[in-house]
Amino acid sequence: MSAIFQIAGIGIIIAMIHSVLKQMGKEDMAHWVTVIGFVVVLFMVVRLLSELFQEIKTIFLFQ
């Protein structure tokens, strides 16, 4: 559960940083931050997904 909150939280924060930077006129930096945030979230999601598939494998293959 907390993972989802984490991802959500990161998403919100990154969005806010993006808008602050864009407002300051540093658009390119804003985009970089967004990309990095996306990558981090991606890694987190991939980790979670791999855990999920492990669980599924465990459940279905034990039966």
Binding site: G9, I13, I14, I17, L21, M24, G25
Partner: protein
């Protein structure tokens, strides 16, 4: 419990860092204004008071806040301290030495150094001209600095908080 403490600590650190950066942006126009006042006072001392330069610098330093005050005092006492040191070198040394204590940047430093090479070695009209030129340059920088301040001060404050929150979320 400790976690909570850690979270609070990180949030606090991030916010403070952000505010510190913002303060720099706020400090620069203020110091530029103070420097301009100091130069105006110097202009009066030289133009109307015919005060000798070391004395004029000391009086101006007494009426100016730090770090401008110590910079001017250094410049004035540099020539008394070291035999063979011309005024230009003394001024340069003083400016370079005290610059890190200010929030000012390269372009105003260059203007000040240029001024130092002209102080005390030409007649009154020339001195006034050079001082006014320096004042104009400082005014231009001050206007630009105020613009910067408007934009970046808020930005850094927000950024500080946001990054702190980000780190917290990542860590927790």
């Amino acid at each position: 419990m400790i976690k909570l403490l850690g979270v609070v600590l990180i949030l606090f650190a991030g916010t403070m860092l952000g505010f510190q950066q913002a303060a720099k942006y706020a400090e620069r126009p203020r110091q530029l204004r103070q420097l301009a006042h100091a130069l105006q006072r110097l202009e009066t001392e030289i133009g109307y008071g015919h005060t000798p330069l070391p004395e004029a610098l000391k009086r101006t330093a007494a009426a100016s806040p730090e770090p401008i005050s110590s910079m001017l005092l250094s410049a004035a006492s540099g020539v008394e301290r070291e035999e063979g040191l011309g005024f230009q070198e003394s001024w340069k040394q003083a400016v370079l030495r005290h610059w890190s204590e200010t929030s000012m940047r390269g372009s105003e430093q260059a203007a000040l150094l240029r001024l130092g090479s002209t102080l005390g070695i030409s007649d009154k009209e020339d001195q006034m001209k050079h001082l006014r030129l320096a004042l104009l340059q400082l005014k231009a920088e001050e206007d630009a600095a105020r613009d910067d301040q408007g934009r970046y001060e808020k930005m850094w404050k927000s950024l500080g908080i946001l990054i702190a929150v980000l780190i917290v979320i990542l860590m927790v």
